[in-house]
C-alpha cells in the first residue's frame, strides 16, 4: 500500500464538525431508547421527565444548539493508518478543530489550565484528550465526544484481584452506579472497562461509552453480563433525573482486555443521557 497524503486542514474540519454535531444531534440509538423507555414508564413524573428530555433533544437538533450546557471536555479516539502522511501537524490540527468547534459552534469552554492551583479557563476548550492507536492502512478514523463532568465525576476504578470473580465485578459496577444515583443525569449509559492495567481499564471504559448502545460485546458471556447489569441497574429505582422510575440506564457497554495473572482491574465510566459521540473516517 502506498502512502496517502492528508492535508492537516481536512483533519481540523473533520474534528470541528464531529464536536459540533455530537453536541447538537442526539444519537439515534439514544433517542430510540428514550422513546421506548417513556412507553415503559408508569409514573407521571418519569414519563414527564423523559418527554422533556426528548423535547430538549429535538429542540437542540432543530435549532443546532447544544442539547446540554456542559458541552464537555473533548475526547478523541483516533485510529491512525500507518500509510497516512499528514501535510502538517496532526496534534495541532486536532486541537485547532476543537478550538474552532467550541468557538464557532457556541459550545461552552469548560477546560481550565492547571487542575489544582490556577484553574484558569483556557477559553477555547483545548487541550483535547487524544487517544491514538496506529493501525494498518491509509485512513484515519476518529470517534469524538464531549464528555460532561456531572457524570464523569461519578466514575470509578478498582484494582480487583482474580478471586473476586464475576460476582466481584458485578458488585463494583452496581455499587458505583448506586452511589452515583440521581447525580449523573440519568438515564445513564454505563461504560465498563475490564482487564489490562490501571490506565487501560479506564481507557476501555471511556471507549465503551463511545460505542452505540445498540451494539453488544461480541463475547456472549460479556453480552449476557451487559444485559444482566442493565436489568439490575433499572431495578434501582432512581429513574429519569433521579426523580424515580424504571429507567435508570439506557445501556451498559463492556470492553475487555487481557490482563496480568495477579489482576482484574475494573473501571466504570458513567455517561449522562446525552451520550455524545460521532465517528468520521478520512
Amino acid at each position: 500500500m502506498e502512502t496517502r497524503k492528508i492535508n492537516a486542514r481536512e483533519i481540523t474540519e473533520t474534528v470541528k464538525k464531529l464536536f459540533m454535531d455530537c453536541n447538537y444531534f442526539i444519537g439515534e440509538d439514544i433517542l430510540n431508547a428514550l422513546e421506548k423507555a417513556r412507553e415503559n414508564e408508569t409514573s407521571d413524573t418519569a414519563e414527564s421527565v423523559l418527554s422533556q428530555i426528548i423535547e430538549n433533544d429535538k429542540i437542540a437538533a432543530e435549532e443546532e444548539i447544544p442539547m446540554c450546557q456542559d458541552t464537555g471536555i473533548a475526547v478523541l479516539f483516533v485510529e491512525y493508518g500507518d500509510k497516512v502522511f499528514i501535510d502538517g501537524d496532526f496534534e495541532q490540527a486536532v486541537q485547532q478543530g476543537v478550538r474552532e468547534a467550541y468557538t464557532d459552534g457556541y459550545l461552552r469552554k469548560s477546560v481550565v489550565d492547571d487542575p489544582v492551583f490556577d484553574r484558569i479557563n483556557t477559553k477555547d476548550n483545548t487541550p483535547a484528550i487524544i487517544h491514538t492507536r496506529i493501525v494498518s492502512g491509509d485512513k484515519i478514523r476518529i470517534t469524538a465526544g464531549g464528555k460532561g463532568f456531572g457524570s464523569e465525576n461519578m466514575s470509578a476504578i478498582k484494582m480487583l484481584t482474580p478471586s473476586y470473580g464475576v460476582e466481584g465485578v458485578k458488585s463494583f459496577i452496581l455499587d458505583t452506579v448506586r452511589a452515583a444515583g440521581p447525580n449523573p443525569c440519568p438515564p445513564i449509559v454505563v461504560g465498563v472497562g475490564i482487564g489490562g492495567t490501571f490506565e487501560r481499564a479506564a481507557q476501555l471504559a471511556k471507549k465503551a461509552t463511545f460505542r452505540s448502545i445498540d451494539t453488544s460485546n461480541p463475547d456472549e458471556r460479556y453480552r449476557a453480563l451487559e444485559k444482566e447489569l442493565l436489568d439490575e441497574i433499572n431495578k434501582m429505582g432512581f429513574g429519569p433525573a433521579g426523580l424515580g422510575g424504571k429507567t435508570c440506564a439506557l445501556g451498559v457497554n463492556i470492553e475487555t482486555s487481557p490482563t496480568h495473572i495477579a489482576g482484574m482491574p475494573v473501571a466504570v465510566n458513567i455517561c449522562c443521557h446525552a451520550a455524545r459521540h460521532k465517528t468520521a473516517e478520512i
Partner: protein, 175 residues
C-alpha cells in the same frame, strides 16, 4: 403544577412539599463552583459580598454561549453537591432558594430547615428546553469567570421539582 413567583416569600416556601412540580417566574441569580468559592471566602472574612443574596434564589448553572438572537445559551442545572461546602453559610446569610440537580448533604438540608428555605431540582441535561424559560439575563459580578460569572436571570415558567422542602423532606430519599 404550582406556579411560584420569585423572589420567594416565607408563606410560599411553607406551601412547597418535596416532590411538587413547580414553575418559577421572576428573578434569580446564577452561580456555581468558582463564584461560590469567592462568595464563601468573602463571607468567612466578614467582608461585604458583591451581590445581595438576601431573599434570593440561586441557580447552579454555567450556560453555553448564546447564539445570535437568543437571550441565553443552553442553561441546564449543574450538580448541586459541589456547592454543599458553601451553601449552609449562604443560607445562614439569607439565601432562600437553590436550583440545581442531585443530592445535597445533611449539612445543607439542616441549613434549609434552619433558614426556612427550599432546594429545587431542574432536569439535568434539558438545557435547550430550560433556556426557553429564561427571558433575559444581565451581568452582576465576577465577569472574569466567564460562564461561571454571577448573572441575574429573569425567568418565566421555569420548570423544576421541589427536591428539599423547608421541613427537610428530601425527594431523593423516597426512592
Amino acid at each position: 403544577m404550582k406556579r411560584i413567583t420569585l423572589p420567594l416569600t416565607d408563606e410560599q416556601i411553607s406551601t412547597l412539599k418535596a416532590g411538587d412540580s413547580v414553575l418559577l417566574t421572576g428573578t434569580m441569580i446564577t452561580g456555581r463552583d468558582a463564584a461560590h468559592k469567592r462568595l464563601f471566602e468573602l463571607a468567612e472574612k466578614g467582608e461585604k459580598l458583591p451581590v445581595d443574596i438576601k431573599g434570593e434564589t440561586i441557580y447552579y448553572v454555567g450556560p453555553a454561549p448564546a447564539k445570535p438572537g437568543y437571550a441565553v445559551g443552553p442553561a441546564g442545572p449543574t450538580s448541586s453537591y459541589r456547592m454543599d461546602k458553601y451553601a449552609p453559610k449562604l443560607l445562614d446569610m439569607g439565601l432562600k432558594g437553590m436550583v440545581g440537580k442531585g443530592r445535597r448533604n445533611d449539612e445543607v438540608i439542616k441549613a434549609v430547615v434552619r433558614n426556612h428555605a427550599v432546594y429545587f431540582a431542574a432536569i439535568g441535561g434539558a438545557a435547550a428546553l430550560i433556556a426557553k424559560s429564561i427571558k433575559k439575563t444581565e451581568p452582576i459580578c465576577y465577569e472574569d469567570l466567564g460562564t461561571e460569572s454571577i448573572r441575574r436571570y429573569y425567568v418565566e415558567d421555569f420548570p423544576c421539582v421541589v427536591a428539599v422542602d423547608c421541613k427537610g423532606n428530601d425527594v431523593y430519599n423516597n426512592l
